[in-house]
């Protein structure tokens, strides 16, 4: 309360809601809504650069540390492979950075909008690549950044400048131990020089540019910024059926041949059982002259007859493994071989962050041992499960005989959990069924007399 004969007084509590500010700057992502949109990797790098810290330190920002399991790997900070895939790690990081900066919709800087409709296998490239011309333009116009497009594996050329994306700086990625190079967007992480000045410029093949333009159009789609495509909105099956009707009289086998796919792969895709790889979608869009969005929306009206096969070359770049990782790998493989529980080679490769081919090439003996151990374990395990199932089956048959219930395969299998597909168990079930029925028939032939005389229980005793 204030009297007329006094001065104004401030005696309230200080404002607290307004004093709670975001920890990181509210930087605006570059190129949103266009095909040249920034990647989340680049956004995190720019954010770290603005705060004068290295990108891997972003994980040490107090609020970010809440999710310890998505911390940056040592020496592999901001690896494009998992940072932009749209999988859980990249989504969690988009949410963390969104919370720390107050900037919504950072998921649009990853491939998360496509996650529900495409397969994430081989989605992003293993090595970071850049277009020197785009970097030069970015350096002159606004802040240096790297595009999401360059992180996609099936994109090998710049759709704007018709040149190939380069992964190698002129320093050949050799690090100078005397200098501590700052990791910042648009600069080589090894020599620290501006990449637009050191990357080679090579003209791209027409097909490479065509494919890159298909992906660029996909990234520029307005739905990419509006949450993306949901699995329920995926009408690619409809597209394939329409394309088969339109160009191959409804014969999906011919369509599969035209698209360079196996019949089963096409069938799985049409039924929605498989999610296609982005490279395949882009290839189909290129061959049929439509966009990826048309395929996902099921619009096959403007397509033309696909000609030739979709060429999906195997990845040629060799896996880069650091020396320290290689040294640790030998010990880890030895410990895995000593472990009483055998694991498949794929699990081992994932655990060591390499692939199976790498292990087979570099560690053939250990790989062979891992494979044979797991096979032996698997064979023994399955045999044991089958024996247990067989015993359970026979017990169940005895129960049916005891209850005087005519045995059928359905009655035999009710309440039992088959260890394998029924086709593989059919012979065993059939054998037990025949044996039980034979016993039942012989028992019934004398059982009628026993029932009438009240000696039923005695007759069923073994």
């Amino acid at each position: 309360m204030r009297w007329q004969d006094e001065y104004p007084v401030l005696d309230d509590q200080p404002t607290s809601a307004l004093l709670r500010r975001r920890t990181l700057y509210n930087l605006e992502p570059i190129g949103l809504g266009t095909g040249a949109r920034e990647s989340l990797t680049s956004y995190a790098e720019r954010l770290a650069d603005a705060h004068c810290i290295s990108p891997r330190m972003l994980a040490d920002v107090p609020a970010a540390g809440q999710i310890a399991r998505v911390k940056f790997n040592r020496g592999a900070a901001l690896r494009a492979r998992w940072f932009v895939t749209g999988a859980s790690t990249s989504l969690e990081w988009a949410q963390i950075l969104g919370r720390l900066t107050g900037r919504l919709g950072l998921e649009a800087l990853t491939l998360a909008p496509l996650a529900a409709v495409i397969n994430d296998r081989n989605l992003t490239s293993r090595r970071r690549r850049w277009c020197p011309q785009c970097l030069r333009e970015a350096a002159t116009s606004h802040a240096l950044y790297t595009q999401l497009l360059w992180d996609i594996d099936c994109v090998t050329a710049c759709p704007f400048h018709d040149i190939t994306l380069s992964a190698e700086c002129s320093c050949k990625l050799t690090r100078d131990p005397r200098r501590c190079v700052k990791w910042s967007p648009g600069h080589c992480s090894c020599c620290g020089q501006l990449l637009c000045e050191t990357l080679p410029t090579r003209e791209a093949h027409l097909r490479q540019v065509r494919l890159a333009r298909v992906v660029q159009a996909l990234l520029a789609d307005p739905r990419f910024d509006q949450g993306g495509w949901k699995a329920s909105n995926d009408h690619s099956g409809t597209f394939l059926k329409s394309a088969a009707i339109r160009h191959f009289q409804g014969k999906s086998a011919q369509l599969a041949r035209g698209l360079g796919l196996s019949k089963s792969a096409l069938h799985g895709w049409m039924k929605g059982n498989h999610r296609p790889a982005l490279a395949l979608l882009v290839g189909v869009a290129d061959r049929t002259g439509c966009s990826v969005a048309d395929i996902l929306d099921g619009r096959a009206d403007d397509t033309h007859l696909p000609g030739g096969r979709i060429v999906r070359p195997r990845r040629k770049t060799s896996l880069r493994v650091m020396r320290a990782q290689r040294e640790a790998m030998t010990q880890q493989l030895a410990s895995i071989l000593c472990d009483p529980v055998p694991v498949p080679l794929l699990h081992v490769a994932r655990q060591l962050e390499v692939n199976c081919d790498y292990l087979r090439d570099r560690y053939p003996e250990q790989s062979a041992a891992i494979v044979s151990r797991f096979k032996a374990y698997q064979t023994g395990h399955i045999a044991a499960k089958k024996a247990a199932f067989s015993a359970a089956l026979r017990t169940r048959a005895e129960q049916l005989v005891a209850q005087d219930v005519w045995p059928t395969s359905q009655r035999l299998l009710s309440g039992l959990e088959p260890p394998d597909r029924y086709a593989k168990l059919h012979a065993e079930v059939k054998h037990v069924l025949a044996e039980t029925r034979r016993r039942m028939e012989s028992a019934r032939s004398t059982g009628l007399l026993h029932r009438t005389t009240g000696l039923h229980q005695i007759a069923l005793e073994p």
């Binding site: 007084v9 509590q13 404002t15 607290s16 200098r179 501590c180 190079v181």
Partner: protein, 345 residues
């Protein structure tokens, strides 16, 4: 208790039900917006507006005149003025207030100052800032890979001021920057502050005692870009000043968390003399009296006021410093230029 715009205001009954410490805390929080403070606030708002050509504002006044309280009110006014923008952009910090450190070292510690500034700007990982420099080949390298340097802190603060779009940066007790400084060192200190204001586009307000007047006299360029706000005391003998002081006293005595408010207006002139005409000193005296009263059971006696007054030696030291400062600042403050100058031209 009423809540307005995220603030909590206590009623008289609620204040009287508080504990002893909470009562003292409540009275400590009470800020009277007396005319001298309102005038200083108005001038500060005008001079901190962008593109006024003023990079450096010096708020100078005698000790206990209410400089820090003025800054507190200024901060609230800024937060109120920019609340809509702050809600829209959660990274926007329009005003940052810090206190210049007196670290105990002989020279001024810029590391601590930048550290405090970083905390005020909500800057993370201050201990892990790395400075990026370009070498002769244009390579971006880290200047010193181990630990934060003052240079790295400085660059991060510059960037923080730009990204947070800070309008006013207030450094209280700025006289600590001048301690143990010759003219050369002082010039480099002031240049560092001026450059910070230039690079980040922020208006810098230094708050302190009359020692700060050394700054604009260092160079003509600095004098041109500096404005002085003099927060003066209320003089005894001036009827208007005496009335203002009395009214401030009345305002404060009504906020004393006691069952019956004492009548202190009859001692107004004597208190004005005893507090050197400074409202801050008056409030501190009342705080001490209140502490005694609460200790003695919550009833007021005028004797408590007598016990809480400043000693004569302390008062003499304050007056001596104030009179010297007032003499030095005569006709140097913002708005002191006479209208006769324009008329004669």
């Amino acid at each position: 208790m009423t809540c307005t715009e995220g603030r909590t205001v206590l009623t008289r009954e609620q204040v009287l039900n508080l504990s002893r410490d909470e009562m003292l805390q409540y009275f400590h929080r009470v800020t009277v917006q007396h005319p001298r403070m309102s005038q200083a606030l108005e001038e500060l708002m005008v001079l901190s507006a962008p593109n006024t050509g003023t990079d450096l504002i010096l708020m100078i006044g005698p000790t206990g005149a209410g400089k820090s309280a003025t800054i507190g009110v200024m901060e609230r006014k800024f937060l109120d003025a920019y609340s809509t923008q702050m809600q829209a952009d959660a990274g926007f910090i329009p005003i940052a207030c810090i206190e210049a450190p007196a670290s105990g070292e002989l020279s001024f510690s810029w590391r601590i100052l930048y550290g405090r500034l970083g905390e005020a700007l909500n800057e993370p990982l201050l201990e892990r800032k790395v400075l990026t420099i370009a070498d002769r080949q244009g390579t971006r390298v880290i200047g010193c890979p181990r630990g934060t340097t003052v240079a790295a802190l400085r660059v991060s603060i510059e960037k923080a001021l730009q990204h947070r779009r800070t309008r006013l940066l207030v450094i209280d007790e700025a006289a600590h920057i001048l301690c143990n400084c010759g003219d050369a060192k002082l010039t480099s200190h002031v240049n560092a502050l001026k450059s910070l204001a230039n690079v980040s586009g922020v208006t810098l307000a230094l708050v302190g005692s009359y020692d700060l007047y050394r700054l604009p006299t260092l160079s003509g360029q600095l004098a041109r870009r500096t404005a002085i706000i003099h927060l003066q005391r209320y003089r005894v003998g001036d009827p208007h000043d005496e009335e203002c002081f009395r009214r401030s006293l009345r305002t404060l005595q009504r906020r004393l968390p006691l069952q019956s408010s004492p009548d202190l207006e009859r001692y107004s002139v004597k208190l004005q003399v005893a507090c050197a005409g400074c409202i801050g000193t008056l409030k501190e005296t009342l705080m001490r009296s209140l502490a005694i009263a609460l200790e003695k059971g919550g009833t007021w006696k005028d004797d408590y006021l007598r016990r809480a007054l400043l000693s004569e030696a302390a008062l003499a030291a304050i007056l001596e410093e104030t009179l010297a400062g007032e003499k030095m600042l005569a006709a140097a403050s913002y708005g002191d230029r006479s209208i006769d100058f324009l008329q004669s031209a």
